[in-house]
Amino acid sequence: MALTTYLEAIREGLLEEMRRDESVFVMGEDVGAYGGAFKVTKGFIEEFGERRVIDTPLSESAIVGAGTGAAINGLRPVLEMQFADFMACGFDQITNFAAKCRYRWGASVPMVIRAPSGGGIHGGPFHSQNPEMPYVHTPGLKVVQPATAYDAKGLIKAAVRDNDPVIFLEHKNLYRSIKEELPRHDYVVPLGLAAVSREGTDLSIITYGWMVHVALKAAETLAAENIDIEVVDLRTLMPLDRETILASVKKTSKAILLHEDTLTGGLGGELAGIISEHAFEYLDGPLVRIAGADTPVPFSPPLEEAFLPNADKVVEKARWLHRY
């Protein structure tokens, strides 16, 4: 059977949802004839026409605002940001309006904002960022980032069906680098549930996105040293699956909190807050954060490498923590 890439998985998930539900439509810059900067919506305009595949002016705030307006009035927009970095241009609409509609006046905003994020592709300071935190921090928004093709398809479908605004972060570096065989039947991966990507007993690595693969690679190296790593893939960053996180830490008693996003104010802190409050008695060592450096994402390969977490860095810290 054919293998499906992470990118194709998102594309298929979207296609299926658009076929299933006439109220689902896509909108964004160059999503039509061009099929989107990364070709996620390739072929959509041929199938669904200009009514349901809308090429917009270069206006992120209008895209988000109009998406929210359409969602309020009964449609299910899936908006594409060309790069996650440019979500910043629609920040007020996302955080001050869309996020608050249900709370203020009970209005559903069943909207998905898709955004290619993350580094490792030599994109430099404007095409490599991981902008999840301001959205994780905004009550009313959900935030998702799949790490596998299976989850990518299942989560985009769940996001489209969800009645709250979902920020759907797609990791650019995974788009074409991973693939797997997907089920033929219609499936969703529910929002809000983490997955244990690898079971282990000695130490938990809690992470998401590209870093799941980095953690798994580190885990293999460490397995050869008889250090048995558990890898938790958060999948949904808001709401966090506290149960799975705490169960893992309670089992292993040690945790590394790993993300590509910059350290200070990153999700690692939130995880440390949850764990140090709710699993304090179980901890046999410090909570160790490994994250992108507190700098803009640099372009030049040696700098970007130094910026990014990688398996070596994880292995080294894990050895230290294991010995602790």
């Binding site: 206006s59 705030s61 009035n73 001050n96 309006f97 959900k142 709250d164």
Partner: protein
Amino acid sequence: MSALATASISQEVTPDLANKLLYYMVMMRELEDRIELKLYRQGKILGGCYTGRGQEAIPTGSAILSRPDDYVCPSHRDMAAFLIRGMTPREILAQYLGRVSGPTGGRDGNMHMGCARRRILPIISSIGASIPVASGIALSMKYRDEPNIVFNYWGDGATSRGDWHEGINFATVQKLPIVYLCNNNLFAYSTPLDKQMAVENVADRAPAYNMPAEIVDGNDVLAVHAATARAVKHARNGDGPYLIECKTFRIGGHSAHDSADYVPDGMREEWSKKDPILRLQKEMVDREWASEQDFKQLRQGILDEISEAVDWALEQPYPDPATLEDNVYEVI
């Protein structure tokens, strides 16, 4: 009195229409006076307090032309639009008083209200943000091939926001069914027009989007009504957005705590003479449709309605603090 029943109104001014317009203008005036000059000063209303005193003609003359399935996106000066869409003085007072019976259940305050059922977009405090949202609502109407349109209200200050430009550009490129009502009251908070824009009229910006526009006397409710009728026809016909710039003046301060000392001497007095309510009343008297006595009666009826609503609202419960975290999400 149900305004929306008049939606298929003819464009001719009838005594019936004039009476309706007058009712909503006076209701807006008296309701806001009660809110600002009584309840706010008595300390019963907390936080910000905005009114549209002197600008009643704009929401009244326009929203009266909305049909039930149209969507209305008012600004913080457009109390009459809420009333015309069916929001009751009781509900509005409950909103101002932070009670659970207001349209936001106490979650938001003052003019920051809305109502999905009546198709009123709640005010988005970020000035200008409603314009892209109005585009999206209109897009959904076009998407479903409905004959509905959107009424989107905003002030002169809003025109400086990026969202204003992005929203109108999006709407004009997509030819969406929107009527824009600009209340150009010459100030944005304390900022006068010449510090806001290098053109004289907001309407001077319409050609930049290939959008028809007209300028009307915003204190003449009949002029606003007639212009809106033209705009509605244009928008409902599928010809895209249409801008009406209503020249007016904010008789009060920006909000209740603002004494508006920055307004040049005499300007308020000058504009007070152009009071839209007195103006319509004069017109009605001239046409022999009504007398001063009728106006007194109307006003008294409204004052009674408001007093009853205030009593009701003051008896409404505050929201239960235990509900604080409800409804942030549908499910989580």
